[in-house]
C-alpha cells in the first residue's frame, strides 16, 4: 500500500556505502521485552520499603478564592501519614519560574486561589492509594466562588475578571513583530484575503499517565526522583529552583519504557516538585500515579488559539505579505516552557512559502482552564490550521486552482538553504516535487473524477490539500523571542539544541550506548543500534542501548529529552559522532599493529582489518578491547586507556534571536504535502475519508519502518483532532471531558491507512542528514481534512473538531414540524446552547393539595427535610437559609452533598425562588429556579423552571448522562414535595419561617 522512493542522497552514510543497517527497516529491539510483559514502565518499578502513596485533592471549581483548608479529619484517618497543604509550601519551595517577565505566581499547590478545575489543593500520603483516596473526602475546603474566564474573547476583553490580581490583566504577553515591509505590501496588493481560525484545546493522550516516585533525603542531599517526565531538561532547572536546591541535589531518573508521551509528559514536572515536597512533609518516599481523570482534566492541553490571518495577494495568487493576529489561551497559569507554543513556530510562520513581508501580533491570555504545554505538533497545528485554510480561501477568492497557488508560492527548490522572513533557515527540500508526487502517487485525477460523479449524483465529496514545513530540533533560544530586544540584551542570549551521547566498549568488546533522549516508544534503541552497528561494523543485535537517564551519572544538557522531533536529527546524529570517535580511537590504536594508516583500518561484519588484508581480519571484540582495557602499555603515545566516548553536539546553525527578532527556531525543517478526499453522509453528517495521501521529506530516513510508524501515529492523532478530540468546558469553567468516553480518540476502526510517500532531501545541518518527521501529520491532517470538507460542502467557517453534529449543521437539517403541536411540547421548551451552558429542567406536577398547604411545607424545615429525597438532615442556618445534608443520585450513582438552600422572592402561596449550592466528593453543584403554584380543580399545579450547574468529577465524567440526570433529580424533588404536602397535614410546631417572612415582609 505504501510507496517509498529513495532519491539518491549522495554519500552521507556513516560507514561504507550502502550501509548495512541505517536506512533499512529493522524490527525493533525494544519489542521482545514489551510484548512479553517485561516492560519497565514507571508504575512497574520497585519502590523502597515504606514508600507511601499519594492522592491529590483537586479543585472542583474553575475560579475561586481558597478560603480555608481543614485536613484534621483526613490526617487522623486510618493509614494516613500526612497531608501536604499550602502552608507547607512557603518554607520549602518557591513559585515556578515564568517564561515572561510577570508577577504571576504558580506554586506546586494552589495558594490564594484556584484557577482551573483539577488544580491541586492538597496531597494525602497514606499506606495505599485507596486509603489516600478515602481520606481525600475528609478534607474540608472552603471556597468563595469567582466569576470564571472561559473563552479567549472574554479573557482579552477589558471588563473580564482578572485571574492574577498582581498581573492586573489576563493578557500576560503582547508582542508585535514586523519583518520586511508588510504594510506597504498590503497597500499595493490587488487582493487581501482574510480568515479567522479557531483551534480548540485538545491533547495527544498517552496510554500511560504520569508517574512520580520521590524521596527527600536530607537537607544536604536534596531529593532523589524517578519519574516519566520526558524533558526538555531545561525544566530540570525550573524544578530545582522551585525546590530551592542546587540542580545537583535534585537527582532525576527516568524508567526505560514509556507508555507514550507525545509531549504531554513534559507536564509531569510540577508533580515532581509536588511529590518531593510531599516526601519531605511525611519523611518517607512517596509514589504518585496519575489516573485518567487527573490526566485528562489537569495534566496539560494544547493551547486554544484564535487567529486572524490575512494575506496580500497578487492576481496570480502569489502572496506578497502575511499578517497574523494570534491570541493564545494558555490556561490558568503561564507554565514553563509556555509561551513556547507560539515561539516554536515563530521562525517559520510563513510556512512553505517564499513570503518576504510578515506582520505578527502574539497575545497570550490566561483563562480558567488547565495550563497548556507540549502536545505533539506543538504550535504547528495552531499555525497551519489558519495558514492552510487560508491557502484554500485565496484560491476560492481569486478563482484559481489551489495547486497553482501552492506552486507559485512554494520556496523554490534551488533556493535552499532559504532564510524565511522571521528567521527560519529552511535547510533543504523540494516542495514542488512533493506536490507532484502527491498528485501522481495519490492518483489525483481519479479523485477529481470521483468528485465529479458524486456531485452529479447529489453526494458530498471534496478534496483537500495541506502543505506544511515541519520543524525539528528546537533552538532552545527561541523562547526568548517573546522578550523585547532590550530584555534579551539584559538577560543574555540563549541558543542551541545540545544533544549528547556516549558509546563505550567493554572488556570483551561489547558496545553500550547511552543517550539522554527519554524515548516514549519511538524505537530509539533500535535506531541507535543501527547507527552504531554501521560505524563499528558489528550487528545491531550486539549493541546494547540504555535509554534510562540519570541526571547525576549521564551526559545531558539543556535540550535533553524527547520533544521537537529531535531524535533523528540530533540524537541519532550525536550517537553517530560518538561512535565515530570510538572507531577513530580504535583505528589509531590498531593501525600500529596492522601497519597501516588509521584511515585504512576497516570495520566490517564484526571484524577489524587493514584495507586489502581482509584475510587477516580479527574479531572486533578482541581487537577493540585489548589495548584500551587489558594492555594499556600497548597504547600509542598520548592515547588514553579505556574506551568510552561522549559527544555533546549542537547544530551549527543555532543562534539567539537577532536585533530584528529573527530567529532560526529549529535546526532542520522537513516537509509534508497532504492530499485527501472525503465523502460526507448526507443523512448523518459523518465524514468518511476516501483516500489520504501524505508525502514526507524528512531528509535521510534512518529506519523507514519506524518512520512510517511515526507518520501513522501522527496521522491517527491528526484525524482525532480533525474529527472528534476536544477538551470541553462549560460556561462555568467546569471540565467536561474526563473519561475516554467523553474525550473521544479515534480507534483503529476510524483511522484509514494513509498512502505514505517519501522523498529524501538530506539536511546539511545534521550529522546524518536526517530530520524529524513525527509531528507532521498532527500539523497537516486537520487543515487537509477541513479543506476537503469545505470543498465538499462549499462552506467557509469550519470549526474543529468536525463532529457529525456540527457537519450536519453545516449541511442544514430539515426539521419539519410534527403533525400535532402537542408532540412539540414534549420536546425541550427552552433551547440551550451546546458547548457552554447550564443544565435546565422545566416541568409541572399536579398535586392533590391546596397551594397554601404546599407552601407551608416549603417554608418548614422539618417538613422540607422530609420531602427532599435523600435528605439526612436539614437545619435553618439563618433567615431563609437552610443547611442540608442530602444524598442525590440517579440509579446507583449517588453523591452526598453538604448543601446550602436559600429561599427568596417569596410570594405566599404563589411562588418562590429556591436556590441551592452544595459540595460533595464528586464535585459541586448549584441550582436556582422558580417554583410556582397555581390552583387547579384537583388541587395545585406546581411548575418549576430550573437551572443547575455542576462542576468537578460529576461534570467531568457525567458526559451524556448529565442532562438527563439533572432532570431526574429535580423531578424527584418536586414530585416528592407534592406527595408530602398532599398526603397529610404537616405535624409539628407552627411554620416558624412563614411567620418570620411575614414579619420581614411587614417591615418591608
Amino acid at each position: 500500500m505504501n510507496q517509498r522512493e529513495n532519491l539518491d542522497v549522495g554519500d552521507i552514510a556513516p560507514a561504507e556505502k550502502p550501509a548495512p543497517h541505517v536506512g533499512r527497516p529493522m524490527q525493533r529491539l525494544e519489542d521482545p521485552a514489551i510484548l512479553t510483559g517485561r516492560g519497565r514502565y514507571g508504575d512497574d518499578l520497585g519502590v523502597r520499603p515504606g514508600t507511601l502513596h499519594a492522592a491529590v485533592l483537586r479543585s472542583p471549581h474553575a475560579h475561586a478564592e481558597l478560603v480555608s483548608i481543614d485536613a484534621t479529619a483526613a490526617s487522623a484517618f486510618r493509614g494516613v501519614c500526612a497531608v501536604l497543604t499550602r502552608d507547607d509550601l512557603r518554607a520549602w519551595s518557591r513559585p515556578f519560574v515564568v517564561g515572561v517577565k510577570s508577577p504571576m505566581e504558580q506554586w506546586a499547590l494552589a495558594m490564594d486561589r484556584v484557577r482551573y478545575v483539577g488544580e491541586p489543593v492538597a496531597v494525602v500520603l497514606a499506606e495505599s492509594r485507596a486509603l489516600a483516596e478515602d481520606a481525600l473526602d475528609l478534607i474540608k475546603v472552603s471556597y468563595t466562588m469567582l466569576e470564571p474566564v472561559t473563552s479567549i474573547e472574554q479573557a482579552a476583553s477589558q471588563d473580564a475578571p482578572v485571574l492574577h490580581e498582581r498581573v492586573g490583566t489576563n493578557v500576560i504577553s503582547d508582542r508585535n513583530f514586523r519583518y520586511g515591509k508588510p504594510e506597504a505590501a498590503f497597500d499595493r496588493a490587488p487582493h487581501r484575503v482574510k480568515l479567522i481560525a479557531h483551534y480548540p484545546r485538545n491533547t495527544c493522550a498517552p496510554i500511560e499517565c504520569g508517574v512520580v516516585i520521590a524521596e527527600y533525603l536530607s537537607n544536604d542531599e536534596g531529593y532523589d526522583v524517578t519519574s516519566n517526565f520526558m524533558g526538555p531538561f531545561s525544566l530540570h532547572a525550573v524544578m530545582s529552583l522551585a525546590l530551592n536546591v542546587p540542580a545537583n541535589r535534585l537527582r532525576h531518573r527516568t524508567p526505560r519504557d514509556s507508555g507514550g508521551s507525545f509531549g504531554v509528559k513534559q507536564a509531569v514536572f510540577p508533580y515532581v516538585v509536588l511529590m518531593c515536597l510531599a516526601s519531605r512533609k511525611v519523611g518517607a518516599p512517596v509514589k504518585w500515579v496519575e489516573d485518567r481523570l487527573e490526566h485528562l482534566s489537569a495534566a496539560t492541553s494544547a493551547t486554544a488559539r484564535l487567529s486572524t490571518i490575512e494575506a496580500a495577494v497578487e492576481n496570480d495568487g502569489r502572496i506578497t505579505a502575511l499578517s497574523y493576529d494570534q491570541i493564545e489561551d494558555c490556561g490558568g497559569y503561564l507554565r514553563a516552557p509556555e509561551p513556547a507554543t507560539f515561539y516554536r513556530m515563530h521562525g517559520c510562520l510563513t510556512g512553505a512559502y517564499a513570503i518576504d513581508n510578515l506582520l505578527v501580533r502574539n497575545r497570550v491570555v490566561l483563562t480558567n482552564k488547565t495550563p497548556t504545554g507540549l502536545v505533539r505538533g506543538f504550535g504547528g497545528p495552531q499555525v497551519y490550521f489558519a495558514l492552510e485554510r487560508l491557502m484554500q480561501r485565496i484560491a476560492l477568492t481569486l478563482n484559481l486552482d489551489v495547486l497553482d497557488v501552492y506552486s507559485r508560492n512554494f520556496v523554490p527548490a534551488n533556493a535552499f538553504p532559504y532564510r524565511a522572513a522571521a528567521g527560519a533557515l529552511l535547510d533543504s527540500g523540494n516542495y514542488q516535487e512533493a506536490l507532484l508526487r502527491a498528485l501522481t502517487d495519490g492518483r489525483h485525477t481519479e479523485l477529481v473524477a470521483r468528485r465529479d460523479t458524486a456531485r452529479k449524483e447529489g453526494r458530498f465529496y471534496g478534496i483537500g490539500f495541506a502543505a506544511i514545513v515541519e520543524p525539528s530540533v528546537s533552538n532552545m533560544g527561541y523562547i526568548t523571542t517573546v522578550m523585547s530586544v532590550e530584555a534579551r540584551r539584559k538577560a543574555g542570549s540563549k541558543s542551541g539544541a545540545i544533544a549528547s551521547a556516549t558509546v563505550s566498549v567493554d572488556l570483551l568488546g561489547g558496545v553500550v550506548v547511552t543517550i539522554a533522549s527519554t524515548p516514549a516508544g519511538q524505537g530509539h534503541m533500535t535506531v541507535c543500534a543501527q547507527v552504531v552497528a554501521d560505524v563499528l561494523g558489528i550487528s545491531p543485535h550486539e549493541v546494547v542501548v540504555n535509554v534510562e537517564l540519570d541526571t547525576q551519572k549521564d551526559a545531558w544538557s539543556v535540550a535533553s529529552g524527547n520533544y521537537s522531533s529531535r531524535f533523528a536529527g540530533a540524537v541519532a546524529g550525536t550517537v553517530y559522532l560518538a561512535a565515530m570517535r570510538v572507531r577513530e580511537k580504535i583505528a589509531r590504536i590498531v593501525s600500529k599493529q596492522l601497519d597501516c594508516t588509521p584511515d585504512d583500518v576497516l570495520f566490517s561484519k564484526g571484524r577489524i582489518y587493514a584495507r586489502g588484508a581482509e584475510d587477516r581480519a580479527q574479531p572486533f571484540g578482541r581487537v577493540a578491547a585489548n589495548a584500551p582495557h587489558w594492555a594499556p602499555a600497548l597504547l600509542p603515545e598520548g592515547e588514553e586507556p579505556g574506551l568510552r566516548e561522549t559527544v555533546f553536539w549542537s547544530p551549527p546553525n543555532m543562534e539567539a534571536p537577532d536585533e530584528q527578532d529573527r530567529i532560526n527556531t529549529s535546526a532542520a525543517y522537513g516537509f509534508a504535502f497532504d492530499m485527501c478526499s472525503v465523502e460526507i453522509d448526507r443523512a448523518t453528517g459523518r465524514i468518511r475519508i476516501d483516500r489520504y495521501v501524505t508525502v514526507h521529506d524528512a531528509g535521510k530516513l534512518l529506519n523507514p519502518a519506524l518512520a512510517d510508524g511515526q507518520i501513522r501515529g501522527a496521522f491517527a492523532q491528526g484525524v482525532g483532532a480533525a474529527l472528534m478530540e476536544e477538551f470541553r468546558y462549560g460556561s462555568d469553567g467546569s471540565f467536561q471531558s474526563g473519561t475516554l468516553a467523553d474525550y473521544l480518540m479515534p480507534t483503529t476502526c476510524e483511522v484509514p491507512d494513509p498512502i505514505i510517500v517519501h522523498l529524501e532531501t538530506p539536511s546539511p545541518f545534521t550529522p546524518l542528514g536526517a530530520k524529524g518527521l513525527g509531528e507532521g501529520n498532527n500539523m497537516s491532517t486537520p487543515p487537509c481534512l477541513a479543506n476537503a470538507v469545505a470543498d465538499a460542502l462549499g462552506v467557509q467557517d469550519i470549526r474543529l473538531p468536525m463532529t457529525p453534529s456540527k457537519v450536519m449543521a453545516l449541511i442544514g437539517i430539515d426539521d419539519p414540524e410534527p403533525s400535532r403541536p402537542e408532540f412539540r411540547d414534549m420536546s425541550a421548551s427552552k433551547p440551550s446552547t451546546p458547548g457552554g451552558k447550564t443544565l435546565t429542567a422545566q416541568g409541572s406536577v399536579d398535586l392533590p393539595a391546596t397551594p397554601e398547604a404546599i407552601f407551608v411545607v416549603l417554608l418548614d424545615p422539618t417538613a422540607l427535610a422530609k420531602v427532599i429525597p435523600g435528605c439526612h438532615a436539614l437545619e435553618a442556618k439563618a433567615k431563609d437559609i437552610y443547611r442540608a445534608d442530602v444524598t442525590v443520585g440517579v440509579g446507583m450513582i449517588k453523591a452526598r452533598f453538604e448543601a446550602e438552600i436559600g429561599l427568596s422572592e417569596i410570594e405566599a402561596p404563589r411562588r418562590l425562588r429556591l436556590a441551592g449550592a452544595g459540595m460533595s466528593s464528586l464535585g459541586s453543584a448549584r441550582g436556582n429556579g422558580l417554583v410556582e403554584l397555581t390552583p387547579i380543580e384537583t388541587g395545585t399545579r406546581l411548575t418549576y423552571d430550573y437551572e443547575a450547574q455542576v462542576s468537578g468529577k460529576v461534570a467531568a465524567v457525567g458526559g451524556r448522562m448529565l442532562e438527563g440526570a439533572a432532570k431526574v433529580v429535580l423531578r424527584q424533588l418536586f414530585e416528592s414535595l407534592g406527595r408530602q404536602a398532599a398526603s397529610k397535614p404537616i405535624k409539628g410546631g407552627r411554620p416558624w419561617l412563614a411567620g418570620f417572612i411575614a414579619r420581614f415582609r411587614g417591615r418591608a
Partner: protein, 273 residues
C-alpha cells in the same frame, strides 16, 4: 481512581445471591460482568457496601431455548459473548444477532452480561432496546417472590428500573423469531462501539411496523403502526422524533437527534423490509 471500600461476596448459588440481597438491600450491588459497574465504582460514583459476585454462579449462566414458550432464555450471569456466539442465534432471535456487533467491542461482550445491561438500564444501550421492541420479559426473583415484567414495566428511566433492592434480575427472555416477522437494526455512534447517539430497532410483519428508539428519551420507546409507507411513514417517524423529547447537550443538538431518528428509523424499517 480506586473504589471506596466494600465487602465482597461470591455467590455460589442463586440462593446465596438472594440471601445477600435480602440482608443488605440497597447497599448491595450485583457484580456480573462488571463492564459498567467497575468503572462507576472506580470513579466512586457509586459506593455500595457490598458486591455480590454472580459471575461464577453456575445456575445463572444458562442460555437456552424454551421451546414451549418460544423464547430464548438468558441467565443473569450469561455473557453477551455466550449469546452472540450461538451458531443458531440468527435463526432464534435475529434482532439480537443484528444488535450485538454494535455493543462496544468483543472484548467487552466477552465479559459483559445481557442481564447486567438490562438491569443497568442505560438509555443508549442496545439490549434494552431489543428487549423492548421484541416484547421480551424480565424475570425478577427475591427470597420472597418471583415476578415477570415486560420491558415497558421494567424500565423506569435513566439508570432506573422497577427492580426492588432485594431482587435479582434472574433471567431475561427474548421471543423467538415469529413467522412472517422481519427485523432491522441501525445505530449511529461517535465511534465504532460507542454508546448510541440514536439506535433504532424495527420489527415488521404483514400487518404492522413496530419501531423502538434508544439514546434519545430516558428509556427505549416503542411505537407500533399499521403497514404505512412513503409520506405517512415519514410523518409518523417525524412525530416520533418529536415525541421523544430530544434535548440539547454539550455534544449534540436536539435538532440533530430528531434528524437521526427520522433517518435511522427509515433505514431500520427499510432494512427490515
Amino acid at each position: 481512581m480506586k473504589p471506596a471500600p466494600f465487602d465482597y461476596m461470591r455467590a455460589m448459588s442463586t440462593a446465596d445471591a438472594l440471601d445477600a440481597l435480602a440482608e443488605n438491600g440497597e447497599d448491595a450491588r450485583i457484580l456480573a460482568g462488571g463492564q459498567s459497574l467497575m468503572a462507576v465504582l472506580n470513579m466512586r460514583l457509586a459506593q455500595p457496601g457490598m458486591l455480590v459476585d454472580i459471575s461464577r454462579t453456575e445456575d445463572l449462566t444458562a442460555v437456552y431455548v424454551d421451546q414451549k414458550a418460544e423464547q430464548l432464555v438468558v441467565g443473569a450471569a450469561a455473557t453477551q459473548g455466550s449469546v452472540e456466539w450461538r451458531a443458531t442465534l440468527r435463526d432464534e432471535v435475529p434482532l439480537l444477532a443484528m444488535a450485538f456487533p454494535h455493543i462496544s467491542h468483543f472484548q467487552i461482550r466477552n465479559r459483559g452480561t445481557v442481564c447486567g445491561s438490562i438491569a443497568h438500564a442505560d438509555p443508549s444501550a442496545e439490549l434494552p432496546l431489543v428487549l423492548a421492541v421484541l416484547g421480551g420479559t424480565v424475570h425478577l426473583r427475591s427470597k420472597k417472590k418471583h415476578r415477570v415484567l415486560a420491558g415497558k414495566e421494567f424500565f423506569k428511566g435513566m439508570l432506573m428500573t422497577a427492580r426492588a433492592p432485594d431482587e435479582l434480575v434472574e433471567a431475561v427472555r427474548f421471543p423467538m423469531r415469529a413467522q412472517g416477522e422481519r427485523y432491522g437494526f441501525t445505530e449511529f455512534s461517535a465511534r465504532h462501539g460507542d454508546f448510541a447517539i440514536v439506535a433504532c430497532a424495527a420489527v415488521i410483519s404483514d400487518t404492522f411496523i413496530r419501531i423502538a428508539v434508544g439514546g434519545v428519551a430516558d428509556r427505549p420507546v416503542v411505537e407500533q403502526w399499521p403497514c404505512i409507507e412513503g409520506d405517512d411513514l415519514r410523518s409518523s417517524l417525524n412525530d416520533l422524533s418529536w415525541k421523544l423529547g430530544a434535548q440539547d447537550d454539550a455534544h449534540i443538538s436536539a435538532v440533530y437527534r430528531r434528524h437521526l431518528v427520522r433517518q435511522l428509523g427509515w433505514r431500520a424499517i427499510r432494512e427490515a423490509k
